[in-house]
Structure formats: structure tokens, C-alpha cells
Amino acid sequence: MIFSESYHRFIDELKKNTGQDPNQCYQCAKCSAGCPVVAAMDLLPHQVIRYLQLGLLGELEESRTPWICASCFTCAARCPRDLDLARLMEGVRLAVLRLREGNRLSPADLELTPEQLEKLPAQALVSSFRKYAK
């Protein structure tokens, strides 16, 4: 069942927290067209919304896309339906983190050389832990 009761609960929560209604999207794919990191995504940004519309939440949970999204807000700046997809991506990320009760990133995962770590701005580390761990 795609549109189960738990789907509606999830979507209501998502709408409340992000202020965005996935059903407002008409699938023009402008978001995907402008996304700077789309090449690395398994689901294109507009497909993420489509999956939300169709209730394909399991697939979203498995997708790399929300973790590739860089929160650059390019999609939100141009969406003709005035949707802030960056917010929806955040909503999906949070939902997955909470569902799995685990972090997506832990310090042990970092594959950075000491020189890189030396040069890498602090903000990058703080940001990624804020995005990928709760």
C-alpha cells in the first residue's frame, strides 16, 4: 500500500516542518535541470518529489540523493511552483536519520588525509556533522 496511514502521517509531518507541500509540484524538472550535483544522484531532485507524491518512501530511504544534495538552494530559487526543494530534502534526511536511529556520518568514516584535515575549513566539518548526524 502506497498511501497508507503512515504515509499520510509522514507527509503531514513533512509539510509541517518544511512548510512545503510536495503536491504543489508539477514535475517540470527545473530543479533537476539546475542542480549542480545532479550527476552524482541516483534519483533526480524532481524524482524525489515524485516519490513523495506517490508514497514511495522505502525507495527514498535507500536513495543517495538526499545525502548528495548540497543545500545550495538553486532549485528553490527557480522552481515555478515556489517550492523549496532544499527544505524537502532536509525533511527526508531528518526522517531517515530519525527512523534509523543512527548517524550517517561518524568521525571514523572520515577518509581525509592529515594534510587535508589541516586545510579543511572547520565549517565543513561542522556542517557535515550537522547534516548527516543527529
Binding site: 517540470c28 524538472a29 527545473k30 533537476s32 535541470a33 533526480l44 524524482q47 527557480r78 515555478p80 515556489d82
Partner: protein, 661 residues
């Protein structure tokens, strides 16, 4: 207390299915003044009307109340029936038992008491009804058409062919509108000029059409049948009786400015006709840019004109005339795309709007019909078209679909392929909307015969890279990001109302929708009328539309206009406002709020302690008043009443409703 008859309609099961008719009839019998109460299955039928007429005579009824559908539907029917039985038609009241009651309730236990209350209110009001009479007004047998695009041209011709005189007012130096800017037209690909110019010539030659180009409407007053209009005919600086249209003046003129007709792509002279087939073929001097008007020196055209037609001293002409009807056909603009920075419009010469691209095909256009890149003058090898730029965009554009872009984009891709068969054409679309006779077939031909590549998706950004434009987009069907190196990018800009549309709407007291397109009186049943009687609309000023639709609408509007013009007299609204001069303090707040300009100051004389004094009071022109009642609410001394809806009548209704609970 007048003798009142009450008739309750079942409306089949529409009312009777939810309202206990018998209870309502019984209750009505007990209301003050009611001497008869009955019901019938369909009161609006011949039989139902006869029942009312017969009962009026038999029971000597002096007022009639019907409990039926909304007065918007059948008030006129029942007024006529009442009048045929010898009563003044305004002694009828309608209780709306359908839209206001049975349709919005499910439970008879709720609906029935409400129906009784509504009938009681109507009865209370009816007992205070007074006979009213409408005025009979003259009709000026002359029409004004504003806007000389294809819609205005068609309407003017149709009205003129019916034998009435038409003044056609066009803002630009020539008629023709946007259609004159087009190369060929979908879905048949006939050349726009070939089908438009014969009509333009017909306008010029028609004995019943008086063409006023380079002219604008400045003021409108009056009412249906008698609109008084002031038109400013701007000085062309050319004597039309002398000009032969030889064109030497604009050949010799040394000053150039961007051409509006070529969407600023090319240049025109300062003395100019916008395009070779212009009607009338008489140039104008654009005084804002003319060297003589700017700096006091030049007058080369004057020296060169063999007909001595140049007249620098010519003044604007003011024309004041009365018209029976007005038809507005002022068309549309292409949306300004500077808000879409990602496409680089206005930043890069090879990013064009569709209307600009259309001009490239035209033999008299900025490139003399060569489809080339404006950056280097070479023909493009790859052209990317982007649809829905500004349309269907609630964030930066218009909420609506502009309706014509799917078709004109396919058309332009075909024209491109015909001219440059080797050039690739890509079209990014969100949805393809090709509803119309021959339209779907046309689009399929573009894809199948001409090899135009349709990409379902969008473009994120256009990156100028070296000589070319890198178009980054996505094809949503395959789920693939795409990068296309293009030479030209063509943007299907949304159709929007003319910039001065709100001003024109105000001048005419007609309504506009939230985008400033002019509003029809009813979206289905009165598509070419406005809310102001006697003013009609046609063409793209009402909503985006293509030529076939604009022409059909123009014909319909002309027919409506002719129907009015053919009447000897017109009946005015009878429920109009009336000022009691004895109470009026002359503050004239009512004048300020009246949307129809129906209230004016007048002088009244009165004797105060033996002395004759004059003072200012308000007066309603019953021919202009539409009975909206704004003035009655504004009047602080309560001296304006709306006849048929007096304070006493309204309070009687309210009292009757309160009594119920």
C-alpha cells in the same frame, strides 16, 4: 396591507427533495398580508407562469412572492409574467430556496425552517414594494472599437458590414497588431501578412469605418447607448491629404532608434512607417527622438518630401464623440523576461524571445529574413527552444498557461527547419497543449517529419561558453541531465496584458481579473460582454489566445454590439438610487464612491425664513445608475435610498428573519 400571493416551486426534486414544500406553503398562509399560498412542480414552465397570472387576477393580488431558484436565473421570467397579468413588474420578490437553501442543506429538518424564514423575509419586503418604472433611452447608432489588431479589425469590419458607422482607434501608427509581426501562422502555415493585409486594406477602404491611428481614448463617460468619448489623435507631423506614401522622408532621415515593431532587434528611422504594408501608409515623426524637436535643427525630411506634406507645427487633435457601444480589443504584450536571469535574456545577443525570433524570419525584419545569430551573423547550427518562460510560474511569472506557446514554438521550429534543414531544433516543454483543430497533427508533424526533438523537462541555466551557449537541462522522461551546446536560445515568453490595461479598465469602468486581463460578464454564458452594459471585449485583451479564437470572439462581440445598435430604445435599470434633496447635506461622499459616475452635484433652492437660498446637493442620473447601492452606505445623513431596496425594506427582511429563531 397589500394583498400578497406566495408561490413555492419544487424545481423537480431540486427544492422539494430537501424542503418540505407543504410545510412552507402552510406557514406562508399565516404571514401578514398573504391571501394566497400555493406550489407547483416547475413554476418557470408555461403552466407555472399561467398559474401565477391566473391567480393574480382571481385573487386580486397586489404583490407576488415566488420561492424558487436564484433571482439571477428567473427573476426576469417572473417579472414578465407578473407584468402580463397587469401588475408592475417590480412588485415581485424572489425567495431563493434553491442556491441559498436546498442545495446547501442535506437535512429537511434544517432546510424547511430556513425556507420558511426566507419566504417570510420576502413577504415582509414585498409588502413595502412600490411600483417602479425604467427609463427608455436613445441609442447612438455608432460604434467605437479600441485596438486595431486582428480582433479589432474583424469586429470593426463586421459591425461596419451591418450598416453602422465604426470609429477604429489604434494607438500605433498602423493597424495590424501582433499578427502583423508574425511570419507564418499555425496550424496551416499561411503567411500572416497574406491573410492579414487584405483585411487591413478593407478597413481602410470601408465607407463605414473611420480609422484613427496614432490615437488614444482619453475619457469615457455616459452609458450604454450614449457613451461620450474623448479621443486624442496625436500629431503625425504629416499632412495626410498631401502625403503620397513615397517613403523618401524615411530614406533620408539621419536619426535611428530601436524598432518597436522588430522587438528592438533592428533600428527604424525617427520618421517612419512601422512596416511596409502599414495601413495607413503615412509616416509619423516620433517627436521624442526627432533631431529637430530635440535640438531645433535638421528638417531634412521636410526638404526632401516632394509632396510638401511634412508639418512640424501640427497639433494633436481632440475628437469628442458619442457612441452607442464600445468594443475593446487592445491585445497583449510579451512578458518582460529580465527576471529570468538564468537564461541570460538581455545579457547575451543569442538569447531571444519568441517574438524576436519570429522577426528574424521576416523579409522586412532586422536581418532581412536571414535566420542568423545576432552575435556573429552566422546561421545557427543548433537552436534550443524553451517553453513556459513566465507562464505557469507562481514564483516569478504568471499563474496561468499562456495557451499559444506550445503551438507557436512548434511552428517556429518548423519554420527553422524549412529555412535551415541541417540545423537541429530542440524544444524543452513541460506539457504539450495542442487542443485545437489540426493542432495535435501539426505538432506531430514537427516531431516526425521535421525531426524536431522534444525534450520533456526544463532548462536550469544557459552558460555562455566561448562562442556558444551551453544549455544545461534535464529530460525528465529518461531521467537524464543534458548539456546542449546551442547557437540560439529562444524563450517562449508568457502573454501578458498590455501595460496600460488597468488604466483603460478604469476609464471604461470595466472589471479586470487579477492579472489585468479584462473580465467577461460570465465565464460561460456571457463571454464577450463586460459588467458594464454596452462595452464588449474581444481578442487577447481578455486572455491569451490565438488568431482563430481572437477572430471568433471578435465576431461574437460584433454581433452583440450590433444587437444593441439595432434597438430603437434601451430600457434602463429601474432599481436606481434616489437622493432626498431636503436631507442631503451636499458632502458628495456618494459621488466619490459611485463606480459608474452616476452621481453629480446640483443646486437646489429652498426657502429659509422667507429667504430663497441655493445650496449644493447630490443628484443621481437614473440612466447611469446600475443600482449597486454603494452610495446608500456612504451617505451619513441617510438621504440616498436605493429604490426597490430601501432601508425600510431591508430592515423588514431582517426583522422577519430574526422573528423566526
Amino acid at each position: 396591507m397589500p394583498r400578497i400571493g406566495v408561490f413555492i416551486c419544487w424545481c423537480g426534486t431540486n427544492i422539494a427533495g430537501t424542503v418540505e414544500i407543504e410545510q412552507v406553503v402552510n406557514a406562508a398562509r399565516s404571514f401578514p398580508g398573504v391571501v394566497y399560498a400555493g406550489d407547483y412542480r416547475y413554476l418557470c414552465s408555461e403552466v407555472g407562469q399561467k398559474l401565477i397570472k391566473d391567480t393574480i387576477k382571481k385573487e386580486n393580488l397586489e404583490r407576488v412572492v415566488v420561492g424558487t431558484c436564484s433571482p439571477r436565473m428567473h427573476e426576469v421570467t417572473f417579472r414578465k409574467a407578473v407584468a402580463e397579468a397587469g401588475l408592475n413588474p417590480y412588485l415581485l420578490e424572489v425567495a431563493n430556496l434553491r442556491e441559498h437553501c436546498s442545495w446547501v442543506h442535506k437535512d429537511p429538518a434544517e432546510a424547511t425552517p430556513k425556507a420558511i424564514a426566507l419566504v417570510r423575509a420576502a413577504v415582509s419586503k414585498a409588502s413595502l414594494d412600490e411600483p417602479l418604472t425604467a427609463l427608455m433611452l436613445d441609442v447612438e447608432k455608432r460604434a467605437l472599437v479600441i485596438g486595431g489588431g486582428i480582433a479589432g479589425i474583424q469586429a470593426a469590419l463586421d459591425i461596419a458590414d451591418s450598416g453602422y458607422t465604426v470609429d477604429l482607434v489604434e494607438k500605433e501608427p498602423s493597424i495590424g497588431g501582433r499578427m502583423a509581426q508574425l511570419e507564418k501562422t499555425f496550424p496551416t502555415l499561411d503567411c500572416a501578412a497574406c491573410i492579414l493585409t487584405p483585411k487591413m486594406v478593407e478597413v481602410a477602404q470601408h465607407p463605414n469605418i473611420n480609422l484613427l491611428t496614432y490615437s488614444e481614448v482619453e475619457a469615457v463617460s455616459g452609458f450604454v447607448g450614449q457613451f461620450d468619448v474623448r479621443i486624442r489623435s496625436r500629431a503625425r507631423s504629416i499632412d495626410p491629404s498631401k502625403c503620397t506614401g513615397c517613403g523618401i522622408c524615411y530614406e533620408k532621415c539621419p536619426a535611428k532608434v530601436p524598432s518597436e515593431f522588430d522587438m528592438e532587434l533592428g533600428k527604424r528611422k525617427v520618421i517612419y512607417v512601422p512596416f511596409p504594408q502599414a495601413v495607413p501608409n503615412i509616416p509619423v515623426i516620433d517627436r521624442e527622438n526627432c533631431l529637430y524637436f530635440k535640438r531645433g535643427r535638421c528638417r531634412i525630411c521636410e526638404k526632401e518630401c516632394p509632396a510638401e506634406a511634412i508639418d512640424f507645427e501640427q497639433q494633436d487633435e481632440i475628437i469628442e464623440r458619442r457612441y452607442g457601444v464600445i468594443l475593446v480589443a487592445t491585445g497583449f504584450d510579451s512578458m518582460d523576461l529580465t527576471g529570468y536571469g538564468e537564461y541570460g535574456y538581455g545579457q547575451h545577443p543569442d538569447v531571444l524571445s519568441a517574438l524576436q525570433f519570429e522577426r528574424l524570419f521576416n523579409a522586412s525584419g532586422p536581418t532581412a529574413g536571414q535566420v542568423v545569430r545576432l552575435s556573429n551573423g552566422r546561421p545557427p547550427q543548433r537552436v534550443v527552444f524553451i517553453q513556459c518562460v513566465g507562464s505557469r510560474d507562481i514564483a516569478r511569472g504568471q499563474n496561468y498557461c499562456s495557451k499559444i506557446c506550445c503551438m507557436f514554438t512548434s511552428k517556429q521550429a518548423i519554420l527553422l527547419k524549412e529555412k535551415l534543414p541541417e540545423t537541429e531544433a530542440y524544444i524543452f516543454y513541460i506539457d504539450l497543449r495542442t487542443a485545437g483543430k489540426g493542432y495535435e497533427e501539426f505538432q506531430r508533424r514537427a516531431a516526425e517529419e521535421y525531426g524536431v526533438i522534444y525534450l520533456r523537462g526544463s532548462v536550469g541555466k544557459v552558460f555562455p561558453e566561448g562562442e556558444r551557449l551551453l544549455v544545461r537541462g534535464v529530460d525528465s522522461l529518461s531521467g537524464r541531465p543534458l548539456e546542449i551546446e546551442a547557437d540560439l536560445v529562444v524563450l517562449a515568453a508568457a502573454s501578458v496584458p498590455r501595460r496600460d490595461a488597468p488604466e483603460l479598465a478604469r476609464l471604461m469602468s470595466i472589471n479586470s481579473d487579477r492579472y489585468n486581463f479584462f473580465d467577461e460578464a460570465h465565464p460561460k454564458l456571457r463571454p464577450v460582454e463586460t459588467h458594464t452594459a454596452g462595452i464588449f471585449i474581444a481578442g487577447a485583451c481578455q486572455a491569451p489566445k490565438d488568431i482563430p479564437e481572437a477572430v471568433a470572439q471578435a465576431g461574437a462581440a460584433a454581433a452583440k454590439a450590433v444587437t444593441l445598435l439595432s434597438k430603437e430604445k434601451l430600457q434602463s435599470e429601474a432599481c436606481v438610487a434616489k437622493v432626498d434633496p431636503a436631507r442631503c447635506s451636499g458632502c458628495l461622499h456618494c459621488e466619490a464612491v459611485c463606480p459608474y459616475g452616476a452621481i453629480a452635484a446640483t443646486e437646489t433652492e429652498e426657502r429659509v425664513r422667507g429667504e430663497l437660498l441655493t445650496r449644493t446637493v447630490a443628484e443621481v442620473n437614473p440612466a447611469l445608475c446600475q443600482g449597486c447601492g454603494c452610495c446608500t452606505m456612504t451617505c451619513r445623513s441617510g438621504s440616498v435610498t436605493l429604490q426597490g431596496y430601501t432601508d425600510e425594506q431591508m430592515l423588514a427582511e431582517v426583522d422577519a428573519l430574526c422573528l423566526q429563531r
